[in-house]
Each structure stands twice: as structure tokens, then as C-alpha cells.
Symmetry: C2
């Protein structure tokens, strides 16, 4: 039996989207690959079980590729094949050809990490964010920002899929009163509004790639919350960069929106620094160098929802393509499933600050919420929900990313 | 047929050692686990193929555990079982009970990475190294050094087993003449004399461990060369720490010397800072807090061998146990196969400097080699060989680590 899924106007999972994720259900706890449409997950292992896919000569069957607990093997396929598969699914779904046994209400699926993540790196590529942070720590933005995307290696094993909670970490911080190092739970818990970019085709160790070629190595994007303990960060940053202040947890949205789906939303980056960058960082077409992805952050506190910021991916000074090219620059190699965090995405306006460190001036000036409550850093029980969407104008395609949410659990 | 292997006085692989590694051979290219004795590797999959091991009730057979391309499953076993297996092997080997089919001359085996490495972190825990580096970059050692081991996340995918070569990376550096950022191959290639510590039993996400308990999570140690491009490091260090300047390659010695084998060489750390550390960092017995492991570095240039430095693991201000406890402090969890680099191990004497950045004052004062050659930073074709050994005095046990070597290939 086949049926047609109707997509409500506020669903992120439109026919323009066809994202990829990994699901399990109570009746089938084995994680496997899926896509999402409207209020349904479509089990892609079940979908391809009795089908052949002519274009896939010489490869394993799509059933074998999707009947796995990660999308790595699918992502490693040639990009033309992945595009074909996505287009095929969208066309069949539009025609209502969805076998009922493959469609599972989203509310009854458990979502897993979509990929087996080898390396995780996190960038700092928003000029506004870096300027704001430098000012708040009594410095100025470092000169290297303008010549290459700033980046550090993160902690892969602490990446969790939304909506898993995150626990307030213990750590060493300078006591605000005594200025002496103290070991205690972090008091300055923050979120960071970022996106994540998953690598598809590997880059061999020792090889570099151009910005133009970076698209061939991008599978797709998710939302990413780089939870940060600002007081631990203040203690440990110098000279080796962030470690425990970030490594206790990083949340991502579980559905990967493919590069293909995002290409219609290509746009000029907000900052045009063409000509000041090294040649290996030059975009062949500046008008398609970034993406117009609208971002927003909601705080859920005591059952009350507060929209606390908005932003846009295109605000990044260094684009995702430039980040991928920079990642491979020294020959470390990229692997399928490597994850790049874009860094906090902050805009010019005071309503576009991508973390509380900036928005509250390191806690000194709490945000006044609509109900009179005040938001400094995050309290236990606070929940942060990142959202993102593209298009939706007259005659435009439209898609969303779903939620990246996480609640702060008390320290133990 | 069984035979007895005689161990020459200069072999690192004594009956006191029984290290673990992963080998393959021309006739059997399937990587599997092995130990080493004298000039032989003992194939542990072949060894356990037709044996039963009574103590292993409820576990998979040792054959299944060792017939794998990594030691992760063995390392994850209870430490008492691992100790039993090692003692059993040493006893049998001493009695000459080595089936001939299991013994393969070391010169005809290929050595692989011994474990599947999830997370790789690198510490900076030598007070002398950090003071020297701070002075050379015009600063002073940061206050946090004295309160917690300094550490950053490294690039897991670029870890290679000795004797794989390492390629000189391209990157962005400040041109020494113009002081402007330039994209070119690194000119200031350096090694760093470190050891690496592999995690056995996992630490669950959200949990912490004490220094006393850290031993339960340590599988064993290798030599580690944290190759560094000092000019790329100078460009990128501020504010997020090292990335490309380290991520192009890290070499480790392929045989893991177990914690059990090293316990007889437990000793007092060179620095006694008992009482100044946080309670969770306090060693229950300071006389057994570190290890007396003698280290040395040899440069091979144009066929001539030069011993360029010596050092000792016990010089570290923060011990490996304290590093493991610190790694788990914020709840990121540890996984079997996680690798901790100790950081450069430098001593007080000018013959005990663990990298060329220190030994040559950032290249300003090259080392005069015995044959009149001068050593600033590393040239293409230079080979660095790290070595380590323990004991060997009258009536003492004795072991070595084998070599951690790597040659610098020219940039492409």
C-alpha cells in the first residue's frame, strides 16, 4: 500500500529538502538510515529492500548502504549518485509512491548521530563574534583572523544528537571574588549558535583542495550548539586554546540537509573581502560563495519560550567552502564523516549575537526577558533550541533543519 | 615444533617487556595482534588459535580477540585478565614453549597502528619546556600551568606508526623578512620528544576519576613524536592553540609497553609539588607517581647518526596519572584507544631539551654536530629516531620501547 504525505506549511521537511538521518524505533531498535518528509521519517533500508537501483552498478545495493547505523557509506558515494538518489526519492514522494510500511511518524522515532564522526574541528569565522569576544577579554582581534579561518580540534566523543541533555561540567576556574583557581561546577554556562558541515568524499593525507573543489567534499549541514563553560574557558584558554570548556558536550540536529538542497539558497557573503585573501581561498563566484540560511535561538525556561536571537549563515567572514579548503591545507587529510563547526554566527545588530557571552557582556548585563525574568548565563533546567530555515518566498523552494535542542542538567 | 628465543642484551623486547602491537606479513597481509621477543614478533592470533584460556570464561576466545587489526578489544578486558595473559606468555616463552609457526622475524613484519584511536589529546606538562618556550616567544609561563595539566585536542587521523615518513606541510606563516603572512612550505620543521599513553577501560561520559584510579584506565605507553612546524605555529597559535602546525603528522612507536611492565620502574617525579595541587590531583604515594623511563633522540642525516638529546619521563611536572585524571575531569568520557601525548619532555640541563625550538633558540643558534655539520631546524631527508629504556642495572628487570622513527619528505 502506498500513500501520499502532505507537508504542512511549517514543516522543515519539504520535498525541497529530503534530508538524511539515522533512526530507530521501539519495534525495530536497530539504527538505520532514513529521510524525513512532513511529519514522517521514511525508513530507507525498508524502502530499498525490494528495489534495484540501476545507476548503482558496481556498488553495493542501496539497501545494504542504508541498512547501517550511519550515513558514512552513502556519503562516500560519488556526489552524482547521491544527487540521483535524492532526486529520485523527491520525485517518487511527490507522486505519492511511498510504501506505507516505510513511513513512521516522526514522534515515534529515536534519532541517532547521523554519521560516525572521525575528526571534529570548530572554527571561529564570524568577524563580529571575534571582535566582540576580544573586546570582552580586554584584547583586540588577532591579525591572523584576516588571513585564514581560525580553528581548533574539538572533542569528537562528546558530540550528541538533539534532544540529548548536556550536563553542567566541573572544572577549574578563577573564583570571581578571590581571583584564585577553584575546582567547582561551572557557573557561566553558555550556548553557541553554529552550523556543522559533514565531509563526504575523503581528501587523502598530504593533499590540498581548492575552494572551488570544496563542494565535492561536502555532504551537508546540521545545526550545532557548541555549549561553552565561559569560566572554565577563561582559566584554560592560554596558551593552548579551549578544551574542557567545550569538550563536555556539543549538540547537533539529527537531520543532515544536503549541499544539493542548499545550493538554491547560495548567496553573497555579508563581508566581501575578495582580493585580501590568499589565492587558494578565492571563490570562483562570490555571488554563490555562502548560503542564505536564517537562524534563530529560543530559550525554554520554566515552560516559557523566549526567542533570544536571530542570525544568518551568510554573516560568516570565512565561508564553509573556505573552511573545508583550510582544513585540508596542511595535508592532514579529511575523512568521510569529519565534522566542521562553523563557529558562532553573530551579526552586526545587537539582536544577532550568537551566544550569551556577547549578548550579556560576559554576564554583566543580563537580557531582560518578556516576562520580566533575566537571562545571564544558563541555569540548570534551561533548554536551548536552535532553528534554521531557507527560502519560502513566492515561487521559492523552502526547507528547514528541524530543531537542535538540549537542556542543562545539574552538575553531579 | 617449539623453540626458545634468545634475547640479546641490546634488545628492547625482553621477557620483562611482552609489549603488544599489530602486525602483518607478506604471506598473511591481514593485520592481527602480536607481541615481540628478541628479534621476533609472536603472532598472538596464531598462538591462541588452538588453545583455550580457562580464566576467560564469559569472554570471547583470546583467538577472536587477537585476530583483529587492533588491540582495542584486548585493552578493554579487565586489567586482571590482561595481566594474567601477559604473565602466562612470559612464563611460557621463558620455558621455550613458543610454537615455531607463531614466531616471525621482526625484520619481515609490517607494523601497524596498534589501536583504533578515537580521541587524541596532547599535553604540555614539562615545566622546563613551557618556561623555555614562553621565554622564546617573549612571554612568561601562564599561571594555569601550576594548577592543571595544559592540554589541547590533536588530529587523530594524522597519527602514523613508525617508520612512516612525514611530509613537510604548506601553511601560512609570517615571512621573516617582510613580517607579512605568506603561504609556502614550512621552513622551521621540528620534532618533539614525547610519550603516548593509551586508554584501556572507558570512563563514561559525565564521570570523573581520581589519580589513584587512573591506573585502571591505562593500557600502556609508546614513544610519540609530535612533529611541529614552528613557523605555522607562530602564525596560528593565538587565540585557539595549535592546529595545522601539529596536525600534518604525529609518529608513534608501534609496540605498546603495558602499565604492568612499567610498574617496577615507578619513581618519584623530579618535581615534587605535593600540597600545591587540587585534591583530585593528589597522588596517594608520591614515590610511585611517575616512571623512570630514559629517553633519547637521534638524528640521522646523510647517513651519519648524531645523538642530539636525552631526557627522562620523570621530569614531567604533571604525571601521566594526573594527565588521565585531568582528561576526564569535565565529563567528556574516555574511550578504549584514546591516546594522550605527554607533551615534550625537557629536563634542566642543556643536553635535555626535547625539541629544536628550545635547543636552537628558535633556530637562532644551531647545534654544532660532531662532524662539523650544523643543526637548526630539520631539512628534507633528516630522520629523527626516538628511543626509550628502563632498568638494566644489577638484578633489575630491563625493557625498551623500540624505535619511533620518521623521515621528513619534501613539500609537494
Amino acid at each position: 500500500m502506498a500513500f501520499k504525505i502532505s507537508v504542512s506549511p511549517d514543516s522543515p521537511f519539504t520535498l525541497d529538502n529530503i534530508p538524511f538521518g539515522v533512526i530507530s524505533t521501539e519495534s525495530n531498535p536497530q539504527p538505520r538510515c532514513a529521510t524525513a518528509l512532513g511529519d514522517y521519517a521514511i525508513d530507507l533500508a525498508a524502502y530499498w529492500k525490494d528495489r534495484t537501483y540501476a545507476q548503482l552498478k558496481g556498488y553495493r545495493s542501496l539497501y545494504a548502504i542504508f541498512n547501517q547505523p550511519s550515513l558514512n557509506e552513502f556519503a562516500a558515494l560519488d556526489s552524482a549518485i547521491r544527487s540521483d538518489v535524492r532526486t529520485y526519492l523527491a520525485t517518487e514522494f511527490a507522486a505519492g509512491n511511498i510504501p506505507e510500511r516505510c513511513a513512521i511518524p516522526l514522534k515515534s522515532v529515536k534519532l541517532h548521530l547521523p554519521m560516525t564522526i572521525g575528526g571534529y574541528v570548530d572554527f571561529a569565522c564570524s568577524l563580529e563574534h571575534c571582535k566582540n569576544c576580544a573586546a570582552l577579554t580586554g584584547g583586540t582581534i588577532s591579525k591572523n583572523f584576516y588571513y585564514a579561518p581560525l580553528v581548533y580540534n574539538g572533542r569528537t566523543s562528546s558530540i550528541v544528537p538533539s534532544p540529548e541533555p548536556v550536563r553542567r561540567p566541573h572544572g577549574i576556574l578563577y573564583d570571581p571574588e578571590t581571583k584564585q583557581p577553584t575546582f567547582c561546577p561551572s557557573k557561566n554556562m553558555d550556548y553557541e549558535l553554529e552550523m556543522g558541515c559533514f565531509i563526504s568524499k575523503p581528501v587523502l593525507m598530504g593533499e590540498r583542495i581548492s575552494v572551488e573543489n570544496a563542494a565535492n567534499h561536502i555532504f551537508g549541514f546540521v545545526l550545532l550548539n557548541d555549549w561553552s563553560a565561559r569560566d572554565l574557558q577563561g582559566f584554560e584558554m592560554n596558551p593552548l586554546g579551549p578544551f574542557h570548556s567545550k569538550g563536555f558536550g556539543t549538540s547537533i540536529s539529527p537531520w543532515i540537509v544536503t549541499l544539493d538542497a542548499l545550493l538554491p539558497f547560495s548567496c553573497k557573503p555579508w563581508h566581501d573581502h575578495t582580493g585580501t585573501e590568499f589565492e587558494h581561498q578565492r571563490h570562483p563566484d562570490q555571488t554563490k560563495a555562502s548560503f542564505d540560511i536564517r537562524l534563530e535561538v529560543t530559550l525554554l525556561r520554566n515552560g516559557v519560550s523566549h526567542k533570544i536571537t536571530t542570525s544568518n549563515l551568510s554573516y560568516l567572514y570565512w565561508t564553509p567552502y573556505q573552511q573545508v579548503a583550510h582544513y585540508a591545507l596542511a595535508g592532514c587529510g579529511l575523512e568521510t564523516g569529519d565534522l566542521l563547526g562553523t563557529g558562532t554566527i553573530t551579526g552586526e545588530s545587537k539582536n544577532e549575537l550568537g551566544c550569551l557571552f556577547e549578548a550579556t557582556l560576559n554576564g554583566a548585563k543580563p537580557i531582560e526577558l518578556a516576562n520580566g525574568d533575566r537571562l545571564g548565563f544558563l541555569k540548570d533546567g534551561d533548554e536551548i533550541i536552535l532553528g534554521a530555515s531557507c527560502g519560502g518566498g513566492e515561487g521559492q523552494p523552502r526547507l528547514g533543519f528541524g530543531e537542535c535542542r538540549g537542556i542543562i542538567l545539574p552538575a553531579v
